[in-house]
Homo-oligomer: 223 residues x 2
Amino acid sequence: MKPAVVLLSGGLDSATVLAMARAAGHACHALSVDYGQRHRAELDAARRLACELGAVEHRVIPLDLRAIGGSALTDDAIAVPESPTTGIPVTYVPARNTLLLALALGYAEVIGAADIHIGVNAVDYSGYPDCRPEFIAAFQAMARLATRAGVEGAAITIHAPIIGMGKGEIIRAGTALGVDYGLTVSCYQADALGQACGRCDSCRLRREGFAAAGLPDPTRYQV
Amino acid sequence: MKPAVVLLSGGLDSATVLAMARAAGHACHALSVDYGQRHRAELDAARRLACELGAVEHRVIPLDLRAIGGSALTDDAIAVPESPTTGIPVTYVPARNTLLLALALGYAEVIGAADIHIGVNAVDYSGYPDCRPEFIAAFQAMARLATRAGVEGAAITIHAPIIGMGKGEIIRAGTALGVDYGLTVSCYQADALGQACGRCDSCRLRREGFAAAGLPDPTRYQV
Protein backbone atom coordinates (compact mmCIF):
# COMPACT_ATOMS: atom_id res chain seq x y z
CA MET A 1 0.00 0.00 0.00
CA LYS A 2 1.27 3.45 -0.92
CA PRO A 3 1.71 5.69 2.12
CA ALA A 4 -0.27 8.93 2.23
CA VAL A 5 -0.55 11.72 4.76
CA VAL A 6 -4.15 12.58 5.68
CA LEU A 7 -4.87 15.78 7.61
CA LEU A 8 -7.44 14.81 10.22
CA SER A 9 -9.15 17.50 12.27
CA GLY A 10 -11.77 15.30 13.88
CA GLY A 11 -14.55 16.94 11.90
CA LEU A 12 -16.95 15.53 9.35
CA ASP A 13 -15.01 16.53 6.23
CA SER A 14 -11.59 15.17 7.15
CA ALA A 15 -13.10 11.92 8.47
CA THR A 16 -14.68 11.42 5.05
CA VAL A 17 -11.38 12.13 3.31
CA LEU A 18 -9.58 9.59 5.52
CA ALA A 19 -12.17 6.96 4.59
CA MET A 20 -11.75 7.84 0.91
CA ALA A 21 -7.94 7.65 1.03
CA ARG A 22 -8.11 4.29 2.73
CA ALA A 23 -10.69 3.02 0.22
CA ALA A 24 -8.28 4.12 -2.53
CA GLY A 25 -5.73 1.70 -1.06
CA HIS A 26 -3.44 4.06 0.81
CA ALA A 27 -1.65 3.30 4.07
CA CYS A 28 -2.92 6.41 5.83
CA HIS A 29 -0.69 8.38 8.18
CA ALA A 30 -3.13 10.70 9.93
CA LEU A 31 -1.86 14.08 11.09
CA SER A 32 -3.64 16.36 13.53
CA VAL A 33 -2.44 19.68 14.80
CA ASP A 34 -3.13 20.88 18.31
CA TYR A 35 -3.13 24.58 17.47
CA GLY A 36 -4.85 25.67 20.65
CA GLN A 37 -8.30 25.44 19.07
CA ARG A 38 -11.21 26.41 21.23
CA HIS A 39 -12.98 23.18 20.36
CA ARG A 40 -10.58 20.76 22.07
CA ALA A 41 -13.00 17.85 21.73
CA GLU A 42 -12.08 17.86 18.03
CA LEU A 43 -8.67 16.33 18.84
CA ASP A 44 -10.23 13.56 20.94
CA ALA A 45 -12.51 12.87 18.00
CA ALA A 46 -9.48 12.75 15.67
CA ARG A 47 -7.88 10.09 17.86
CA ARG A 48 -10.98 7.91 17.78
CA LEU A 49 -11.47 8.40 14.05
CA ALA A 50 -7.87 7.56 13.17
CA CYS A 51 -8.33 4.27 14.97
CA GLU A 52 -11.83 3.49 13.68
CA LEU A 53 -10.96 4.35 10.09
CA GLY A 54 -7.81 2.23 10.02
CA ALA A 55 -5.01 4.79 9.91
CA VAL A 56 -1.66 3.05 10.26
CA GLU A 57 -0.35 5.92 12.39
CA HIS A 58 -1.69 9.11 13.96
CA ARG A 59 0.54 11.98 14.99
CA VAL A 60 -0.68 15.05 16.88
CA ILE A 61 1.71 17.97 16.52
CA PRO A 62 1.40 20.85 18.98
CA LEU A 63 1.64 24.28 17.33
CA ASP A 64 0.29 26.99 19.56
CA LEU A 65 -1.46 29.45 17.24
CA ARG A 66 -2.70 31.27 20.34
CA ALA A 67 0.76 32.85 20.26
CA ILE A 68 -0.50 34.56 17.08
CA GLY A 69 -4.23 34.77 17.84
CA GLY A 70 -6.44 36.77 15.52
CA SER A 71 -9.32 34.30 15.28
CA ALA A 72 -12.37 33.38 17.33
CA LEU A 73 -10.94 29.85 17.39
CA THR A 74 -7.60 30.84 18.89
CA ASP A 75 -8.42 33.93 20.96
CA ASP A 76 -10.94 33.66 23.78
CA ALA A 77 -11.56 37.41 23.56
CA ILE A 78 -13.22 36.92 20.13
CA ALA A 79 -16.65 35.27 20.32
CA VAL A 80 -17.82 32.59 17.90
CA PRO A 81 -20.75 34.09 15.90
CA GLU A 82 -24.08 32.37 16.45
CA SER A 83 -25.86 33.82 13.43
CA PRO A 84 -24.71 34.05 9.77
CA THR A 85 -22.20 36.83 8.98
CA THR A 86 -21.04 38.31 5.68
CA GLY A 87 -17.49 38.23 4.28
CA ILE A 88 -14.70 36.18 5.81
CA PRO A 89 -15.89 35.28 9.32
CA VAL A 90 -13.93 35.81 12.55
CA THR A 91 -13.52 32.04 12.85
CA TYR A 92 -10.99 32.26 10.01
CA VAL A 93 -7.59 31.29 11.46
CA PRO A 94 -4.87 33.26 9.65
CA ALA A 95 -2.81 30.97 7.40
CA ARG A 96 -4.22 27.83 9.01
CA ASN A 97 -4.45 25.63 5.94
CA THR A 98 -1.07 26.87 4.74
CA LEU A 99 0.39 25.74 8.06
CA LEU A 100 -1.47 22.43 8.10
CA LEU A 101 -0.35 21.62 4.56
CA ALA A 102 3.22 22.72 5.34
CA LEU A 103 3.34 20.28 8.26
CA ALA A 104 1.83 17.56 6.10
CA LEU A 105 4.45 18.32 3.46
CA GLY A 106 7.33 17.88 5.89
CA TYR A 107 5.78 14.67 7.25
CA ALA A 108 5.20 13.32 3.74
CA GLU A 109 8.82 13.95 2.80
CA VAL A 110 10.09 12.14 5.88
CA ILE A 111 7.93 9.02 5.43
CA GLY A 112 8.33 9.01 1.64
CA ALA A 113 4.66 9.66 0.87
CA ALA A 114 3.81 11.10 -2.55
CA ASP A 115 0.26 12.05 -1.58
CA ILE A 116 -1.37 14.42 0.91
CA HIS A 117 -5.13 14.41 1.46
CA ILE A 118 -6.99 17.36 2.94
CA GLY A 119 -10.70 17.83 3.61
CA VAL A 120 -11.15 21.41 2.47
CA ASN A 121 -14.48 22.24 0.94
CA ALA A 122 -15.34 25.21 -1.25
CA VAL A 123 -19.10 24.70 -1.54
CA ASP A 124 -20.61 24.68 1.94
CA TYR A 125 -17.55 26.39 3.38
CA SER A 126 -17.66 29.44 5.58
CA GLY A 127 -15.91 31.93 3.30
CA TYR A 128 -12.34 30.95 4.15
CA PRO A 129 -9.86 31.96 1.42
CA ASP A 130 -7.68 28.88 2.04
CA CYS A 131 -10.48 26.45 1.19
CA ARG A 132 -10.60 27.37 -2.51
CA PRO A 133 -9.31 25.20 -5.39
CA GLU A 134 -6.98 27.98 -6.55
CA PHE A 135 -5.29 27.97 -3.13
CA ILE A 136 -4.75 24.21 -3.25
CA ALA A 137 -3.29 24.47 -6.77
CA ALA A 138 -0.94 27.28 -5.71
CA PHE A 139 0.18 25.33 -2.64
CA GLN A 140 1.00 22.33 -4.79
CA ALA A 141 3.03 24.47 -7.22
CA MET A 142 4.93 25.93 -4.26
CA ALA A 143 5.44 22.50 -2.65
CA ARG A 144 7.08 21.22 -5.82
CA LEU A 145 9.76 23.90 -5.46
CA ALA A 146 10.07 23.64 -1.68
CA THR A 147 11.03 20.04 -1.24
CA ARG A 148 13.71 17.49 -1.86
CA ALA A 149 11.05 15.28 -3.49
CA GLY A 150 10.12 18.05 -5.91
CA VAL A 151 13.74 18.75 -6.84
CA GLU A 152 14.35 15.06 -7.39
CA GLY A 153 11.35 14.80 -9.72
CA ALA A 154 8.97 13.01 -7.33
CA ALA A 155 6.59 15.84 -6.57
CA ILE A 156 4.01 15.46 -3.84
CA THR A 157 0.37 15.71 -4.90
CA ILE A 158 -2.23 17.50 -2.78
CA HIS A 159 -5.61 15.79 -2.96
CA ALA A 160 -8.72 17.70 -1.96
CA PRO A 161 -11.35 15.14 -2.99
CA ILE A 162 -14.38 16.83 -1.42
CA ILE A 163 -13.51 20.39 -2.41
CA GLY A 164 -16.34 20.56 -4.93
CA MET A 165 -18.95 18.50 -3.07
CA GLY A 166 -21.97 19.75 -1.13
CA LYS A 167 -22.22 18.78 2.54
CA GLY A 168 -25.05 16.33 1.87
CA GLU A 169 -23.02 14.67 -0.88
CA ILE A 170 -20.02 14.37 1.44
CA ILE A 171 -22.15 12.72 4.13
CA ARG A 172 -23.63 10.24 1.67
CA ALA A 173 -20.15 9.35 0.33
CA GLY A 174 -18.73 8.86 3.82
CA THR A 175 -21.71 6.86 5.01
CA ALA A 176 -21.25 4.51 2.05
CA LEU A 177 -17.65 4.01 3.21
CA GLY A 178 -18.72 3.25 6.77
CA VAL A 179 -17.88 6.55 8.48
CA ASP A 180 -19.67 6.87 11.83
CA TYR A 181 -20.39 10.60 11.88
CA GLY A 182 -21.46 10.30 15.51
CA LEU A 183 -17.71 10.20 16.26
CA THR A 184 -16.99 13.48 14.47
CA VAL A 185 -17.05 16.94 16.04
CA SER A 186 -17.75 19.97 13.83
CA CYS A 187 -18.91 22.59 16.35
CA TYR A 188 -16.54 25.55 16.85
CA GLN A 189 -17.42 25.63 20.52
CA ALA A 190 -18.06 22.01 21.35
CA ASP A 191 -17.89 21.23 25.06
CA ALA A 192 -15.37 18.83 26.59
CA LEU A 193 -17.69 15.91 25.82
CA GLY A 194 -17.82 16.87 22.14
CA GLN A 195 -21.41 18.08 22.40
CA ALA A 196 -22.32 20.75 19.83
CA CYS A 197 -23.74 24.23 20.46
CA GLY A 198 -26.15 23.94 17.53
CA ARG A 199 -25.82 27.66 16.77
CA CYS A 200 -22.43 28.38 15.11
CA ASP A 201 -21.80 28.37 11.34
CA SER A 202 -20.24 24.94 11.49
CA CYS A 203 -23.23 23.45 13.34
CA ARG A 204 -25.62 25.05 10.86
CA LEU A 205 -23.77 23.69 7.79
CA ARG A 206 -23.59 20.26 9.38
CA ARG A 207 -27.27 20.14 10.25
CA GLU A 208 -28.22 21.24 6.73
CA GLY A 209 -25.90 18.54 5.37
CA PHE A 210 -27.65 15.68 7.12
CA ALA A 211 -31.00 17.07 6.01
CA ALA A 212 -29.75 17.31 2.40
CA ALA A 213 -28.41 13.75 2.58
CA GLY A 214 -31.72 12.53 3.93
CA LEU A 215 -29.90 10.82 6.79
CA PRO A 216 -30.44 11.04 10.54
CA ASP A 217 -28.19 13.60 12.27
CA PRO A 218 -26.15 11.74 14.91
CA THR A 219 -24.79 14.98 16.42
CA ARG A 220 -25.00 15.22 20.20
CA TYR A 221 -26.17 18.71 21.11
CA GLN A 222 -25.69 20.53 24.38
CA VAL A 223 -28.96 20.81 26.29
CA MET B 1 6.53 53.17 10.62
CA LYS B 2 5.02 50.33 8.61
CA PRO B 3 4.96 47.05 10.54
CA ALA B 4 6.86 44.11 9.05
CA VAL B 5 7.44 40.54 10.17
CA VAL B 6 11.10 39.50 10.11
CA LEU B 7 12.00 35.84 10.47
CA LEU B 8 14.96 35.75 12.82
CA SER B 9 16.87 32.52 13.34
CA GLY B 10 19.78 33.97 15.27
CA GLY B 11 22.18 33.36 12.40
CA LEU B 12 24.19 35.75 10.31
CA ASP B 13 21.78 36.02 7.39
CA SER B 14 18.57 36.79 9.28
CA ALA B 15 20.38 39.29 11.54
CA THR B 16 21.44 41.16 8.41
CA VAL B 17 17.89 41.10 7.05
CA LEU B 18 16.53 42.48 10.33
CA ALA B 19 19.02 45.35 10.16
CA MET B 20 18.02 46.00 6.54
CA ALA B 21 14.28 46.01 7.30
CA ARG B 22 14.81 48.43 10.15
CA ALA B 23 17.02 50.67 8.00
CA ALA B 24 14.18 50.69 5.45
CA GLY B 25 11.97 52.22 8.12
CA HIS B 26 9.91 49.22 9.23
CA ALA B 27 8.66 48.58 12.75
CA CYS B 28 10.09 45.07 12.90
CA HIS B 29 8.19 42.25 14.58
CA ALA B 30 10.79 39.50 14.86
CA LEU B 31 9.61 35.90 14.75
CA SER B 32 11.67 32.89 15.77
CA VAL B 33 10.58 29.29 15.79
CA ASP B 34 11.74 26.83 18.38
CA TYR B 35 11.51 23.78 16.15
CA GLY B 36 13.65 21.56 18.32
CA GLN B 37 16.81 22.51 16.44
CA ARG B 38 20.00 20.85 17.57
CA HIS B 39 21.70 24.23 17.81
CA ARG B 40 19.66 25.69 20.69
CA ALA B 41 22.11 28.56 21.16
CA GLU B 42 20.64 30.00 17.95
CA LEU B 43 17.46 30.97 19.82
CA ASP B 44 19.39 32.72 22.59
CA ALA B 45 21.22 34.60 19.85
CA ALA B 46 17.88 35.54 18.26
CA ARG B 47 16.69 37.05 21.55
CA ARG B 48 19.82 39.18 21.87
CA LEU B 49 19.73 40.25 18.23
CA ALA B 50 16.05 41.25 18.33
CA CYS B 51 16.90 43.55 21.20
CA GLU B 52 20.19 44.89 19.81
CA LEU B 53 18.76 45.52 16.35
CA GLY B 54 15.70 47.38 17.60
CA ALA B 55 12.84 44.99 16.91
CA VAL B 56 9.61 46.34 18.43
CA GLU B 57 8.59 42.82 19.42
CA HIS B 58 10.04 39.31 19.37
CA ARG B 59 7.91 36.19 19.50
CA VAL B 60 9.29 32.66 19.77
CA ILE B 61 6.78 30.05 18.65
CA PRO B 62 7.36 26.45 19.67
CA LEU B 63 6.78 23.96 16.86
CA ASP B 64 8.36 20.62 17.59
CA LEU B 65 9.66 19.36 14.24
CA ARG B 66 11.29 16.49 16.12
CA ALA B 67 7.80 14.97 15.94
CA ILE B 68 8.51 14.69 12.21
CA GLY B 69 12.31 14.32 12.22
CA GLY B 70 14.08 13.50 8.99
CA SER B 71 16.98 15.93 9.35
CA ALA B 72 20.32 16.05 11.10
CA LEU B 73 19.03 19.22 12.76
CA THR B 74 15.93 17.60 14.24
CA ASP B 75 16.94 13.97 14.76
CA ASP B 76 19.88 13.18 17.03
CA ALA B 77 20.34 9.87 15.24
CA ILE B 78 21.46 11.71 12.08
CA ALA B 79 24.94 13.25 12.39
CA VAL B 80 25.82 16.72 11.10
CA PRO B 81 28.35 16.22 8.25
CA GLU B 82 31.78 17.70 8.91
CA SER B 83 33.01 17.62 5.33
CA PRO B 84 31.32 18.83 2.12
CA THR B 85 28.65 16.51 0.67
CA THR B 86 26.94 16.45 -2.72
CA GLY B 87 23.23 17.01 -3.42
CA ILE B 88 20.76 18.16 -0.79
CA PRO B 89 22.50 17.61 2.55
CA VAL B 90 21.06 15.77 5.56
CA THR B 91 20.82 19.09 7.40
CA TYR B 92 17.88 19.96 5.13
CA VAL B 93 14.77 20.15 7.35
CA PRO B 94 11.74 18.99 5.34
CA ALA B 95 9.44 21.92 4.52
CA ARG B 96 11.19 24.20 7.03
CA ASN B 97 11.02 27.45 5.09
CA THR B 98 7.46 26.69 4.01
CA LEU B 99 6.54 26.35 7.69
CA LEU B 100 8.49 29.44 8.77
CA LEU B 101 6.88 31.55 6.07
CA ALA B 102 3.43 30.13 6.87
CA LEU B 103 3.83 31.18 10.51
CA ALA B 104 5.09 34.59 9.42
CA LEU B 105 2.08 34.86 7.12
CA GLY B 106 -0.39 34.22 9.94
CA TYR B 107 1.46 36.64 12.21
CA ALA B 108 1.54 39.32 9.48
CA GLU B 109 -2.21 39.01 8.94
CA VAL B 110 -2.93 39.38 12.63
CA ILE B 111 -0.76 42.48 13.14
CA GLY B 112 -1.73 43.99 9.78
CA ALA B 113 1.75 43.83 8.26
CA ALA B 114 2.02 43.91 4.47
CA ASP B 115 5.65 42.75 4.42
CA ILE B 116 7.56 39.65 5.49
CA HIS B 117 11.36 39.55 5.42
CA ILE B 118 13.32 36.30 5.30
CA GLY B 119 17.06 35.73 5.15
CA VAL B 120 17.23 32.92 2.63
CA ASN B 121 20.25 32.88 0.40
CA ALA B 122 20.68 31.06 -2.88
CA VAL B 123 24.37 31.76 -3.51
CA ASP B 124 26.39 30.43 -0.60
CA TYR B 125 23.53 28.20 0.50
CA SER B 126 23.88 24.54 1.25
CA GLY B 127 21.74 23.11 -1.54
CA TYR B 128 18.36 23.56 0.15
CA PRO B 129 15.45 23.65 -2.34
CA ASP B 130 13.50 26.15 -0.22
CA CYS B 131 16.21 28.81 -0.46
CA ARG B 132 15.74 29.45 -4.19
CA PRO B 133 14.09 32.54 -5.72
CA GLU B 134 11.53 30.39 -7.53
CA PHE B 135 10.39 28.97 -4.19
CA ILE B 136 9.94 32.44 -2.71
CA ALA B 137 7.96 33.58 -5.76
CA ALA B 138 5.72 30.50 -5.57
CA PHE B 139 5.14 31.02 -1.85
CA GLN B 140 4.09 34.60 -2.47
CA ALA B 141 1.66 33.55 -5.21
CA MET B 142 0.18 30.97 -2.83
CA ALA B 143 0.02 33.45 0.06
CA ARG B 144 -2.04 35.84 -2.03
CA LEU B 145 -4.72 33.15 -2.37
CA ALA B 146 -4.43 31.86 1.19
CA THR B 147 -5.20 34.96 3.17
CA ARG B 148 -7.86 37.47 4.04
CA ALA B 149 -5.41 40.22 3.06
CA GLY B 150 -4.95 38.68 -0.39
CA VAL B 151 -8.68 38.28 -0.95
CA GLU B 152 -9.26 41.87 0.12
CA GLY B 153 -6.63 43.13 -2.34
CA ALA B 154 -3.88 43.91 0.17
CA ALA B 155 -1.50 41.08 -0.63
CA ILE B 156 1.48 40.40 1.60
CA THR B 157 4.91 40.73 -0.02
CA ILE B 158 7.73 38.32 0.78
CA HIS B 159 11.11 40.07 0.79
CA ALA B 160 14.28 38.01 0.48
CA PRO B 161 16.79 40.86 0.16
CA ILE B 162 19.97 38.77 0.44
CA ILE B 163 18.86 35.87 -1.75
CA GLY B 164 21.27 36.81 -4.53
CA MET B 165 24.19 38.04 -2.42
CA GLY B 166 27.43 36.23 -1.63
CA LYS B 167 28.26 35.66 2.03
CA GLY B 168 31.02 38.27 1.99
CA GLU B 169 28.66 40.82 0.48
CA ILE B 170 26.04 40.07 3.16
CA ILE B 171 28.60 40.57 5.92
CA ARG B 172 29.78 43.88 4.47
CA ALA B 173 26.18 45.12 4.15
CA GLY B 174 25.31 44.13 7.72
CA THR B 175 28.52 45.58 9.12
CA ALA B 176 27.68 48.90 7.46
CA LEU B 177 24.31 48.77 9.26
CA GLY B 178 25.94 48.09 12.61
CA VAL B 179 25.27 44.36 12.97
CA ASP B 180 27.54 42.79 15.60
CA TYR B 181 28.14 39.38 14.04
CA GLY B 182 29.75 38.23 17.27
CA LEU B 183 26.16 37.90 18.56
CA THR B 184 25.08 35.58 15.74
CA VAL B 185 25.28 31.79 15.76
CA SER B 186 25.53 29.92 12.46
CA CYS B 187 26.97 26.56 13.53
CA TYR B 188 24.63 23.56 13.15
CA GLN B 189 26.06 22.04 16.30
CA ALA B 190 26.93 25.06 18.40
CA ASP B 191 27.35 24.29 22.09
CA ALA B 192 25.17 25.78 24.82
CA LEU B 193 27.44 28.85 24.95
CA GLY B 194 26.97 29.43 21.21
CA GLN B 195 30.52 28.35 20.40
CA ALA B 196 30.93 26.95 16.88
CA CYS B 197 32.31 23.56 15.83
CA GLY B 198 34.26 25.08 12.94
CA ARG B 199 33.71 21.96 10.83
CA CYS B 200 30.09 21.86 9.56
CA ASP B 201 28.88 23.36 6.26
CA SER B 202 27.47 26.38 7.98
CA CYS B 203 30.76 27.11 9.79
CA ARG B 204 32.68 26.70 6.55
CA LEU B 205 30.44 29.10 4.61
CA ARG B 206 30.59 31.61 7.44
CA ARG B 207 34.38 31.51 7.72
CA GLU B 208 34.75 31.92 3.94
CA GLY B 209 32.33 34.87 4.15
CA PHE B 210 34.42 36.84 6.60
CA ALA B 211 37.52 36.11 4.53
CA ALA B 212 35.72 37.32 1.36
CA ALA B 213 34.53 40.45 3.16
CA GLY B 214 38.06 41.16 4.34
CA LEU B 215 36.74 41.50 7.89
CA PRO B 216 37.87 39.82 11.12
CA ASP B 217 35.83 36.73 12.01
CA PRO B 218 34.25 37.30 15.46
CA THR B 219 33.05 33.68 15.74
CA ARG B 220 33.83 31.97 19.01
CA TYR B 221 35.01 28.45 18.28
CA GLN B 222 34.97 25.44 20.57
CA VAL B 223 38.49 24.55 21.67
